[in-house]
């Protein structure tokens, strides 16, 4: 199971049990949705604050450093790279240029200066007006950094727009991936599905098979490692045959991978059938009745506090975090 263990995202941490683990899965789901929605149409400071609050939450929750170093490390690296790349990329903004010189400047040329002295003086005065550098009205600068030669780059320009886009992309990626990862890290898969089962309860009135949907989701969460294991076994089986891919050519390589994909599908269907047999032997009732009870879904005081914090959070998002 090397492939699965090497995946840094989405794995459940069963020990130590932190206070984040103890919060009701439904409350955590509401908070996850909040973290996914709150960055939309918000200003850069709010987005940075959201990403920062996730890091702070991880530290305050007491999640061991070895766990979040692995999860957060590569994500921070990716986001930093995205930030740098987007900052120095052209901002692609179509600026409508408005000259800060008087409109007559375009008409002045040395050829026009052949008239009498009075006209010459007037023209000289106008030329002086046009050539003098106008002082900026405010300290606003659209271009924040501009160097013609910067290390290996022919020119490095950072504008307000590119910086804004860089912050948007990097913080959005971090918030979306890390909030989901933190949720999966502190919530057992069947807790998630039990929480969903409870939240989807009203759908039962419309004869929607909620338990069946939830059971299917739970089984698929168990099935993911098995799929990865099958993929890994097939990849290993191909590797051990020492195939010379260069000699094989594109067409025959594609044929080989098609055979492998066929085998993978066959193995997965066989596994699914064997699991179905095992379920029968283990006392499976029927898809819409088999509700596995394992977690008690009860809102305690800590859950109400977590829900209560949502009110000031959304007020802050509305009044402080909105776009300028």
């Amino acid at each position: 199971m090397d492939l699965l263990r090497s995946l840094p995202i989405g794995s459940y941490l069963e020990q130590p049990v932190t206070w984040l683990h103890r919060i009701d899965p439904r409350v955590k789901l509401v908070w996850l949705m909040t973290f996914l929605i709150a960055p939309l149409l918000s200003n850069p400071f709010w987005r940075i604050a959201l990403a920062g609050s996730l890091i702070l939450l991880t530290i305050v929750a007491g999640i061991p450093f070895r766990v979040w170093r692995k999860q957060m490390g590569w994500l921070l690296l990716l986001c930093t790279f995205m930030f740098l790349f987007a900052s120095i990329s052209p901002d692609s903004l179509a600026v409508k240029y408005t000259p800060r010189t008087p409109p007559f400047c375009g008409e002045i040329s040395p050829a026009n200066n052949t008239a009498n002295n009075t006209t010459k003086d007037l023209a000289a005065e106008k030329t002086a007006q046009c050539t003098s550098i106008l002082a900026p009205a405010t300290d606003y600068q659209y271009v924040l950094f501009d160097k013609p030669k910067f290390f290996l780059l022919p020119r490095l320009v950072i504008t307000r727009r590119s910086l804004d886009v860089a912050i948007r992309i990097s913080t959005l990626i971090f918030t979306l991936i890390y909030s989901t990862s933190l949720y999966l890290l502190t919530t057992a898969p069947e807790e998630i599905t039990e929480g969903l089962d409870d939240l989807m309860n009203p759908l039962r009135h419309f004869n929607i098979p909620v338990s069946e949907i939830v059971l299917t989701l739970t089984l698929s969460l168990r099935f993911i490692p098995l799929v990865l294991e099958e993929v890994q076994n097939l990849v290993r089986s191909i590797r051990t045959r020492a195939i010379d891919w260069k000699k094989l050519g594109l067409r025959r390589s594609a044929q080989l991978w098609l055979i492998v994909s066929e085998k993978l599908l066959e193995n997965l269907l066989l596994r699914a059938e064997q699991i179905a047999v095992a379920m029968d032997v283990r006392g499976f009732t029927s898809p819409n009745e088999h509700r596995v009870q394992w977690h008690q879904l009860k809102l305690r005081s800590r859950d109400w506090i977590a829900l209560g914090i949502l009110i000031p959070f959304w007020c802050a998002r509305w009044f402080v975090g909105g776009t300028f």
Binding site: E14, R282, V292, Q296
Partner: protein, 233 residues
């Protein structure tokens, strides 16, 4: 059972598994079991040996009710658990505790009762500290013990094992078989264990040898082991 050899057979206790003259075939040419008969006494640990294709796994599937015999009868009045060769094909929930609780749904227990049953089953297989662990993070031996705990939690009186040590290393293999022996000894369990590893015979109370779809020898495991080793030489 007139056609089978009894080797140092102990006095029979009440049988909890009774197979009488069972026949099964996949087609008219592929006859798997032909007049197979055996009895497993209550509270004992018996093994079923045989070469590949001798019908061991088919017999176990017949006992579990997954297949129906063509003829003969199978009497098993007690609740039965089943442990498959590959536990990855048996464990269906994402974490240990929830997987054991999977088999308890039909009993309509309260959450407190479910938790009690799960913990007591995990305690029986010495894995109480793994209650919250994801299944994919367990070793092969631990997965097999979780599968056994699933049967114990359901209060199964009989557990059948279909080559549960086939995918384990030698140390884990002997550790598992020793643990099952202790379980049978300490509780009123009956176990029927399919294997083709002779060293596992040291741990059981009795054994059957299956050949050509019928039991050809049964009784004391050590005598059977000696006989099989002599045949191999």
């Amino acid at each position: 059972m007139s056609h089978s050899i009894n080797i140092g057979l102990k006095p029979d206790k009440t049988p909890v598994i009774r197979v009488n003259d069972v026949g099964f075939s996949w087609s008219s040419e592929a006859i798997v079991l032909d007049g197979c008969s055996l009895e497993v006494p209550q509270g004992e640990f018996w093994m079923l040996l045989g070469n590949n294709g001798s019908g061991k796994s088919t017999l176990l599937r017949l006992l579990a009710g997954l297949l129906v015999p063509d003829r003969g009868s199978i009497v098993m009045p007690y609740k039965t658990g089943f442990v498959f060769q590959n536990p990855d094909r048996q464990l269906v929930m994402p974490t240990v505790g929830a997987d054991i609780a999977f088999g308890l749904v039909s009993e309509h227990l309260s959450l407190v009762q479910v938790k009690e049953r799960v913990r007591s089953a995990l305690d029986a297989v010495n894995l109480l500290d793994l209650e919250r662990r994801p299944i994919h993070a367990l070793s092969g031996g631990q997965k097999q013990r979780i599968a056994i705990a699933g049967a114990i939690a359901r209060n199964c009186e009989v557990i059948m094992f279909d080559e549960p040590t086939a995918l384990l290393d030698p140390d884990s293999q002997l550790e598992l078989v020793a643990q099952v022996k202790n379980l049978v000894k300490n509780s009123n369990l009956t176990a029927l264990w399919v294997t083709h590893r002779l060293e596992e015979l040291d741990y059981c109370d009795g054994a059957f040898l299956l050949e050509g779809g019928k039991v050809v020898a049964k009784g004391d495991p050590q005598s059977l082991k000696q006989r099989l080793l002599a045949t191999e030489k």
